[in-house]
Amino acid sequence: MYIDRLLILLIAGAYLITPIVTHWWTEGGTSWYRPYLIWAGLIVTSFWITRSRDIDEF
């Protein structure tokens, strides 16, 4: 079975990073907007990546 290398990287990355992120989020106290900051960060990253991506791949 073949799995995309990027997918493996993402799964491994998510596995390592999720506890840290979740911990930071739940320790937020009154900073209720913390999950939204992470989310916004992901959107900006995705925007930045897709801008430079070779669109012919699709």
């Binding site: 079975m1 073949y2 799995i3 995309d4 990027l6 997918l7 993402l10 979740t22 989020w25 739940t26 937020g28 106290g29 009154t30 209720w32 999950p35 939204y36 989310w39 916004a40 992901l42 959107i43 900006v44 995705s46 925007f47 897709t50 991506r53 070779d54 669109i55 791949e57 699709f58």
Partner: protein, 981 residues
């Protein structure tokens, strides 16, 4: 605050009418395509995901489950953030094979009508609670605005309204090849804008009207830590990860998402901006949920928290804000109902109605399709309404949503198998779905419909063991039961050949595609007769012609890979018209695949290479290096200056290099994959004779092409042949020797001339001495006698010896013709040269009576040896004299440019016979009577002109009408001092 029925009806009807007008304007082209097909419209249309759960249900879910509410948004946002990995493979499949729904995908991959039908049935059943959720949201929100109305009446009115509206969209479906609903996409995009704006308005209302701005909200949170704690607490123990995965899968398994993401996509590249655009839409909506929740708590709003979005606005003074919030909820509910109903009706039509009803081809009218679809739409909406009524409002929105989302999780094992597991088969997927749905009915659907607890012994036991919520354990049992059945049954049963092939197409790993398949037909022309019994002659012909024109293939196409492409295209086109199940059936019955015989497996080199070329940018490391090596070897063969081609065991052409293209005029694109016997004559016979012949080498083969003879040398060798008995591919090398043979012939000619020269020199030397002796003796006789008869005899001897001497002198001159040094060349005035030659000829007995016209310019010069050029003109003009009658004209004139000079010597004598014209410059060839010419004159001229880097040709007759006149044309390189008139 209470709103009248008229107010609410007006708002609702106006909103739905606006939607219809947008759809209509888009369909009619009033809204330009550059707008309606803009990627942003596609991204906005994905907002159909945000149903009443997003607008109302999430607030209630946040109230109950804290930050777990974010999973609804983050799950699907995650799927889109990594869209190139998660969604692109489905988009590729959906676009290439026109798979318009999840059942299409299942029917295509698992090659089973039953798999498609099961998927369509279970999906419809599973989505009923989600549709009921929307109906409940609209009914309850209206009753919040007007508490005198009966909720069931509102729900029914809403259902009727939405049924009419949806059937209008269904009516717009062309029923033909195109399954795109541009109008619907535009309308849903508009709905998303409305939803986002409404949520931002209500969120801003909560922050700035209920609270006095963000600071006040923060202060309130500081003073009410319980409000924050209720968000954080469920995160620790709640089913956070399971929910994320459930909503992650929704991107593919939810029919409205499949419809918008894949089926309605006009440009696959729009998926890239959607990977951040759609999460942004979700982000904006989700951002408003906590402030709305806290505003509701602060205001101690009565009623269920899930309607805080509407209820908090009712606490204010404005009558507009509640209506705006109501439109937001209406928009969310109506959008998803329209798209889900449309998608479900299409899949029910294609996978349930048509296969069960089995209408003949003639009854497949667009009217029948539209009517059936409308009927199905109505049935789905009414079933949802029935489920809503049966529920009696006992379940909140998020509970209803959970039932549907759990049902759609049943498709995840089948989808994972589709992408990653080639052994997955139809028996596995159908039994997995059946088991999963039975478990779902037991744990979710039935308890909801009959007002009982979802508490099987197994669920209770597992919930106790893992200390988890019983609903969560129910979901786990459903998915685990499905997955285990799917895997076990797939492993225990046989995967059919058609499934193996479909698995190769669907597999993410293109390296697994072994293309071990070929068709039962051998030519594109066989397609129409094969299809005719199933779909009729007219339709068969139309479909095949359309597929051929789309693929730009020849009607007599024979290449295996091209035929496979043609079959796939015909199936795809039929699928868009009749649905994939019927299309597959037709194709499997008429033009089935068969596994390649062992002997035919080596032939698809070209297909293999095409796939590697397409996959190339994904290779790295050793694989990329191997690919570079492959390309290098291929390029070497391509650029080889000698013709090379290879054929498979069954004589199909596998490689055809550029030299072969130049030699034969057949391009590699035309030939690769074709059998060698499909080539045009004379190459066909020529190559087949050699390929099938016993000899591996043919050094002197000739072939006539357009009246030109090519001389070729051919070699062949078997590729990887282990023993003599084995058949294998062959490589054939074809070398064009035509020019080499021409050079060899010229060399032979020169050699012959040289040997004649040597012979002539020898003969001259040997004959000269005795002739000189004879002449001396004859002269002695003249001095020694007065006898008249003897003197006459002596004169005759001298005359004959002189003649012999002249002949000998000619031979000597000829033999010395090639020994002149080019260093002696100097500018020669051609006018003077010709004049001198004329003067010399006039000294002869007959020379005076000819009319010479030396029209050469006075300053015409060429580089050369003056004496030898004089010899040329003496010979040419002498010949002209001999050929011409007395007093006739002999013209010498010239033409040329800065590079060359052409001097013509033209007479009016008898023409040279055609048969002799090619040999006229050969030694000892003459047109004169025997004894009058040696046949060396023109040969000498030829040699001298060649020595001067020139060229001589003859035109005879000059006047075709009279058949008279000869023109010798000498082309010489021009001297630097040349000055033409």
């Amino acid at each position: 605050m209470n709103f009248s029925v008229a107010e609410l009806s007006l708002v609702g009807a106006t909103y739905l009418l606006t939607l219809f007008l947008i759809a209509y304007a888009t369909e009619k082209g009033i809204i330009p395509h550059r707008i309606s097909r803009h990627p942003s419209i596609y991204i906005l249309s994905l907002g159909v995901y945000c149903s009443a759960w997003a607008v109302y249900g999430s607030v209630g879910f946040a109230y109950e489950n804290g930050y777990n509410f974010l999973s609804y948004y983050l799950g699907i946002a995650g799927a889109f953030l990594i869209a190139p990995i998660t969604l692109a493979p489905f988009l590729r499949l959906a676009h290439t094979y026109k798979l318009n729904s999840l059942p299409d995908l299942f029917a295509f991959r698992y090659r089973s009508k039953l798999a498609g039908a099961s998927a369509a049935f279970f999906l419809t059943l599973g989505l009923i609670p989600l549709l009921a959720l929307q109906i409940q949201a609209v009914a309850q929100s209206v009753s919040l605005l007007n508490n005198s109305l009966n909720e069931n009446t509102i729900a029914l009115a809403f259902c009727i309204l939405i049924m009419l509206f949806t059937s209008m969209y269904g009516g717009h479906s062309k029923g033909g090849r195109s399954k795109k609903h541009e109008g619907l996409v535009a309308a849903i995009a508009f709905e998303t804008i409305v939803k986002v704006i409404v949520m931002l308005i209500v969120g801003a209302y909560a922050v700035f009207s209920v609270f006095d701005g963000p600071q006040d909200l923060q202060n309130w949170l500081d003073s009410n830590p319980a409000a924050l704690e209720m968000l954080y607490e469920p995160l620790d123990n709640g089913p956070w990860r399971s929910l994320i995965l459930t909503f992650f899968a929704a991107a593919i398994v939810m029919p409205h998402m499949y419809q918008m993401t894949f089926t309605e996509s006009t440009n696959p590249r729009s998926l890239l901006p959607a990977s951040w655009g759609f999460p942004l839409i979700l982000f904006l909506i989700a951002l408003c949920i906590p402030p709305i929740l806290w505003a509701g708590i602060k205001l101690q709003t009565p009623g269920p928290p899930e309607y805080y979005t509407l209820a908090i606005t009712l606490a204010g003074d404005s009558r507009l804000t509640p209506l705006i919030a109501f439109v937001g909820g209406l928009s969310a509910s109506s959008g998803i109902i329209i798209v889900v109903t449309l998608a479900l009706s299409e899949m029910c039509l294609n996978h349930l109605a048509i296969p069960m009803y089995k209408p003949s081809m003639g009854r497949f009218s667009i009217g029948w399709v539209k009517f059936s679809k409308r009927l199905l739409m109505a049935a789905i909406i009414l079933a949802s309404f029935g489920f809503y009524v049966a529920l009696e409002n006992r379940l909140d929105l998020s509970q209803l949503g959970t039932i549907s989302y759990t049902a759609t999780l049943n498709f995840v094992p089948g989808i994972l198998g589709l992408l990653f597991w080639n052994k997955a088969n139809r028996q596995g997927v159908i039994s997995g779905l059946a088991v999963g749905f039975v478990l779902w009915l037991i744990h979710f659907f039935w308890p909801a419909a009959t007002h009982t607890q979802a508490s099987t012994t197994l669920a209770i036991t597992l919930a106790d063991i893992f200390d988890e919520d019983i609903v969560y354990m129910g979901g786990f049992i459903v998915i685990a039961g499905n997955a285990i059945t799917f895997i076990v049954v797939s492993l225990l049963t046989r995967t059919s050949e058609e499934e193996q092939r479909a698995a190769e197409i669907c597999a993410l790993d293109t390296r697994q595609q072994s293309s071990q398949w070929e068709l039962s037909v051998s030519s594109a022309s066989d397609f129409t007769p094969c299809l005719t019994p199933q779909i009729g002659a007219l339709m068969a012909q139309r479909e095949v012609e359309q597929a051929l024109s789309e693929l730009k293939l020849d009607p007599d196409e024979q290449r295996a890979y091209a035929l496979i492409r043609l079959r796939d295209r015909v199936e795809t086109n039929l699928s868009s018209f009749l649905g994939p199940s019927i299309a597959q059936d037709i194709m499997d019955q008429t033009i089935p695949y068969k596994q390649k015989s062992e002997s035919g497996k080596s032939e698809d080199i070209h297909r293999m290479e095409s796939r590697m070329e397409a996959y190339r940018h994904k290779l790295s490391g050793l694989a990329a290096e191997l690919d570079s090596l492959r390309r290098f070897h291929r390029q070497t063969l391509e650029d080889l200056p000698i013709g090379m081609f290879s054929i498979s065991e069954d004589e199909k052409i596998q490689a055809w290099n550029k030299a072969m293209e130049a030699l034969t005029g057949h391009s590699s694109e035309q030939l690769i994959g074709m059998r060698i016997n499909s080539m045009k004559q004379p190459w066909k016979t020529f190559l087949i004779d050699f390929i099938r012949g016993e000899s591996d080498y043919s050094p002197q083969a000739t072939i006539n092409i357009d009246e030109k003879t090519l001389e070729l040398s051919l070699h062949k060798a078997a590729i990887g042949k282990q023993n003599a008995a084995e058949t294998s591919s062959q490589v054939i090398v074809v070398e064009d020797l035509t020019e080499l043979r021409l050079l060899e012939s010229e060399l032979t000619h020169s050699e012959r001339l040289a040997s004649i020269g040597r012979l002539a020199a020898g003969v001259a030397h040997e004959v000269g001495n005795p002739v000189t002796g004879i002449a001396c003796l004859a002269q002695n006789i003249q001095y020694d006698t007065e006898n008249k008869d003897l003197l006459d005899t002596a004169d005759q001897i001298l005359e004959q010896t002189n003649r012999i001497t002249r002949i000998v002198q000619s031979l000597v001159n000829f033999s010395h013709s090639g020994e002149v040094s080019h260093a002696e060349h100097c500018p020669v005035n051609m006018h003077e040269c010709v004049t001198e030659a004329i003067d010399l000829l006039r000294l002869g007995a007959s020379g005076k009576s000819y009319d010479y016209h030396n029209d050469l310019p006075d300053n015409l010069q060429v580089m050369g040896d003056a004496q030898r050029l004089l010899q040329v003109f003496v010979n040419l003009l002498g010949n002209a004299q001999d050929a011409s009658s007395h007093a006739s004209k002999i013209n010498i004139y010239s033409e040329g440019d800065s590079h060359s000079v052409i001097i013509h010597v033209e007479d009016e004598g008898e023409g040279i016979p055609d048969a002799l014209q090619d040999q006229i410059f050969e030694p000892f060839v003459t047109t004169k009577d025997p004894g009058e010419g040696t046949g060396l004159g023109l040969s000498l001229v030829y040699s001298i002109i060649e020595d001067h880097y020139g060229h001589i040709s003859v035109t005879s007759p000059v006047n075709p009408e009279t058949g008279k006149g000869n023109r010798f044309s000498i082309t010489l390189p021009a001297s630097e001092q040349l000055n033409l008139p």
